[in-house]
Symmetry: C2
Subunit: 146 residues, 2 copies
DNA sequence: GGCATATAGTTAGTTAAACAACTAATCAAA
DNA sequence: TTTGATTAGTTGTTTAACTAACTATATGCC
């Protein structure tokens, strides 16, 4: 029984993701306090667009680990906020290429600073090598379940 | 700078909790396949009630790390499913004590088995000592942000 | 007793996730 | 070239999270 690492009563927080929920809530509060009118989910889409925009909604699905309806609605809301624009592709008219507006580009620096700040608060007093192990475990978990 | 453990580009999955999302989705699929008509959130409430029922909604808030409106609605839906009952306390009439029905008690064993199964799949190929480190890190993160 | 304050829970409104069913465009193969 | 399958994206429905505003009960203090 090589993998019975969880006895009853220990599995709750692993499944419910208490830690990542707490991180997301803290970051959301920082956004609100800084008058960054963004949800964490919207930020997670912009995060990938800041690295490269002009990608399709399907590529955003893969990058953000969300399904297509979720991305449709997130892009809807980001468009309402005038942070992105849908441009239908000329090569394949099924596809929408998603582009950032200048407004959205301006938000990158401030929001990324708040994200790093949040993670540093979250990881206070955790030795770097343990953080590394934790990251690796979470990556394996993700790969195991895909 | 003792805590700058995250360079840009590494923080995304920590914040978005990709791993715990994947675990929850896998467990939900197992519930559906087993005709357990339960959401993961409903299960997370039952999880605490199986340990002890007859507790207040506020105690459920603390146990499940949710706010009061969330618990109100979860209890609403669990009541519709006839899995719990609200009984207003005689000592303090503001409080609802939440009790399991027999129906709900019957679901404990099967659902907990599926939860353990899910975690074992998630943690396949992860050495037990690394799982331990990961759990400790996530606990510290949670404590740091409370 | 009466008033302020705190606590328990509910309601309303917005955003998002999951799933199923759908449209439209593309591609592949007979 | 037309038919069938695949891919990209949208829409509808249910469940849930978060905030703010609300009701009702309890408590503490004068």
């Amino acid at each position: 029984m090589p993998n019975n690492q969880f006895k009853k009563g220990e599995l709750y927080s692993f499944i419910t993701g208490k830690a990542s929920t707490a991180i997301a809530r803290r970051l959301q509060k920082k956004f609100n306090a800084a008058n960054l009118n963004l949800t964490i989910e919207q930020w997670s889409v912009l995060y990938h667009l800041w690295k490269q925009d002009g990608i399709s909604q399907q590529e955003l699905c893969n990058a953000t680990f969300r399904d297509k309806p979720s991305i449709t609605r997130l892009v809807d809301n980001l468009e309402k906020l005038k942070l992105v624009k849908r441009v239908s592709s000329k090569e394949d008219r099924r596809m929408n290429m998603i582009f950032l507006t200048n407004e959205a580009r301006k938000m990158e620096e401030a929001s990324m600073e708040l994200a790093e700040e949040t993670l540093n608060e979250a990881l206070e007093k955790v030795p770097a090598d343990q953080v590394e192990v934790c990251k690796q475990v979470l990556q394996i978990v993700y790969d195991n379940l895909r």
